[in-house]
């Protein structure tokens, strides 16, 4: 067990070093940082002084070590486009993205699981078939199109909901939240549906197929033979056993929610990290790109680590298998 956790963490560190190296190469090999920071009329002596001040005359490994030390402390320099420290920018944008991702994930779970159970139990009802067909179309629709169509219908034609921005936000210390104001809540509706719809269909289909699988097993038949109510069989026995893969997939999907937040934030001009990153790419704002790269790498490594560990704890079969494999 301990060895398993250690190898997982070691792998995560290696991935982070690779990501860090890519970010570092962005800084140093793409364009000359000295030329970027000095005015064009600077003399050779100025350049040399700048080079030494930035530590660019030192060996490569020392530079990389410095970069990693700075990165770990959250110091990624100053945004070329906005002229402010990158870490401050990211901290400012983080709440918007996290709140959006949280609402989207909750929506996917709270609607997806009941729909999955329903379509699994009533597999031949026309309403189930309708839901399944709709979910197939949902999977084929690209995220940005869902967003555009929702804006067209609910913001342009009906005028019910706002189509861009976060509405009014309330500051709780460094964290700005949209949960506490009516306009903030209204502004969350369309983006979170856009972001959550794909995960919702995915979870629904997953729960349905797991339910169908579990309902065929012997212990369900025995539970029925013991005279338990349908309710107890379906929710106490069947649903509980479908939840292991649902937990894993949801955990892994958190990562793709954050990735697709880039798209959703662009469609809705949502002031989160994803929008910041897209603008950084378009303006070649290297410090912001590097910082986002490292942050997203870290988030993914952490999510994968937690999901792996969860899986290990939730499913005892996996533990035995690993112990057996290590015995060879």
């Amino acid at each position: 067990m301990f060895a398993f956790v250690l190898t997982r963490i070691a792998q995560g560190v290696v991935v982070m070093l690779v990501v860090g190296f890519i970010a570092f190469s962005l800084f140093n090999f793409v364009g000359d940082p000295v030329a970027l920071m000095l005015p064009p009329e600077a003399t050779q002596a100025d350049r040399q002084a700048m080079r030494e001040a930035l530590g660019l005359d030192r060996p490569f490994t020392v530079q990389f070590a410095n970069f990693v030390t700075n990165a770990v402390q959250g110091n990624f320099g100053i945004s070329l486009r906005l002229g402010r420290p990158v870490s401050a920018l990211l901290v400012e944008r983080l709440p918007a993205t996290l709140e959006l991702a949280f609402v989207a994930a909750s929506l996917a779970l709270l609607v997806g699981i009941p729909l999955g159970v329903y379509t699994g139990l009533k597999r031949n009802a026309w309403s189930s078939r309708l839901l399944l067909t709709a979910s197939l179309i949902g999977v084929s629709l690209p995220t940005f199109l869902i967003g555009i169509f929702l804006i067209l219908i609910f913001a342009v034609w009906l005028g019910w909901l706002p189509s861009f921005g976060r509405g009014d936000t309330v500051a709780l210390g460094a964290w700005t939240t949209g949960f506490l104001s009516p306009t903030g809540l209204k502004a969350l509706i369309l983006p979170s549906i856009t972001l959550g719809l794909f995960q919702l269909t995915l979870i629904m289909r997953l729960v349905r197929s797991e339910m169908l699988e579990v309902l065929r097993t012997d212990y369900i038949k025995f539970a029925r033979a013991r005279g338990l109510t349908n309710r107890a069989v379906h929710f106490g026995h069947a649903l509980r056993n479908t939840l292991v893969p649902v937990i894993t997939i949801t955990g892994l999907q958190l990562g793709s929610i954050i990735a697709f937040a880039i798209v959703t934030e662009t469609v809705f001009q949502w002031p989160g990290m994803g929008l910041l990153f897209i603008q950084a790419i378009q303006f070649a704002d290297i410090p912001v790109m590097a910082a986002y790269l490292c942050l997203i790498g870290l988030i993914f490594v952490l999510i994968n680590l937690v999901v792996d560990l969860l899986y290990y704890f939730v499913d005892p079969r996996l533990r035995i298998e690993r112990a057996g494999a290590e015995g060879h």
Partner: protein, 303 residues
């Protein structure tokens, strides 16, 4: 002729005839591919010929709406370009990028999968580790990162010329893992069969064994994955172009068209963005239905 006869009598064609949904999907796929390939002849206007554009025609709504002009069936955009024609030209770019990206991903994935399965050892462990790590990141993110980094790294003046190749590469690099894993799995099985041992005994070069003996035997599942991959590659391309990091505006794809139209959503010119979007969905959906059917039809377990 004989082969055609055999195909028409075969199982695959039988299951095709039995499924009306598949036939509709096939017809739609065929129509969108033909419209894209022959856009130069079929499109009612040439939207990129600046001489024929008339700014007075800009923002004409579709023909069946009030103020519509029958010459522009789906209306015109902000520069007076015919929407139907830009869609046909645009789907050509989308289709080309999607197909090239899938082909490149196949080449990378098959090569690495064969090497991994046939050579084994440390190389296998390394390739599969990289595949694992990459698989834990969503494809769109990988493509976006490669595309973004390449944009910054390449010199500014060659941007537009290289943009399409960068795009193809980034989509391919985000999709090779599936192929590599599948090919590696079947190669591990094939490696120990007699024909491979025989080839080894008569002294054929390992590369020749991999590519001319093993490859034909592991190709089946790969082709099925590829048909399902085309749709998602086209969506990835459209998403990147929508985000403004895909193809250059001089050569708009469906995603670029949707991005352009998105700016006019609020002034009521919905057709500039809705029609390219609908075309994209219909194209991808019918390709996916077709791919799904092919997977089931070729799977002997389901017969």
């Amino acid at each position: 002729m004989d082969m055609l006869r055999r195909f028409l009598d075969g199982d695959v064609f039988y299951s095709f005839k039995r499924s009306p949904l598949t036939m509709v999907a096939a017809a739609l796929t065929l129509a969108s591919v033909v419209a894209a390939l022959f856009a130069g002849w079929l499109a009612p206007h040439n939207p990129f010929d600046l001489k024929t554009l008339n700014l007075l025609d800009a923002f004409t709504p579709p023909a069946w709406v009030e103020r519509g002009n029958p010459a522009y069936f789906l209306g015109t955009d902000d520069q007076g370009r015919d929407v139907l024609s830009t869609i046909m030209y645009g789907s050509r770019v989308s289709l080309m990028v999607g197909l090239c990206a899938v082909a490149l991903a196949m080449v990378i994935g098959i090569t690495l999968g064969l090497l991994s399965g046939y050579v084994g050892g440390r190389l296998d462990a390394f390739i599969m580790r990289v595949a694992d790590v990459q698989l834990s990141f969503p494809a769109i993110l990988i493509a976006l990162l490669i595309d973004g980094v390449a944009r910054v790294a390449l010199p500014k003046d060659s941007h537009d010329a290289l943009a399409i190749y960068v795009l193809i590469f980034s989509i391919a690099a985000s999709g090779w893992v599936q192929y590599a894993r599948t090919v590696r799995g079947s190669t591990l099985v094939e490696r120990n069969k007699e024909y491979v041992q025989a080839a080894r005994v008569i002294g054929r070069h390992p590369a020749a064994i991999m590519f001319s003996h093993v490859l034909p035997n592991v190709l089946g599942p790969v082709l099925v994955i590829a048909t399902l991959h085309i749709g998602s590659a086209i969506i990835t391309e459209a998403t990147l172009s929508f985000l403004g990091v895909g193809v250059p505006p001089t050569q708009p794809s469906l995603g670029t068209l949707i991005r352009i139209g998105n700016d006019f959503l609020f002034s009521g010119e919905w057709w500039i963005t809705v029609f390219p979007g609908a075309w994209l969905v219909i194209m991808v959906l019918s390709m996916n239905v077709l791919g799904d059917w092919l997977r089931d039809a070729l799977n002997p377990k389901l017969r």
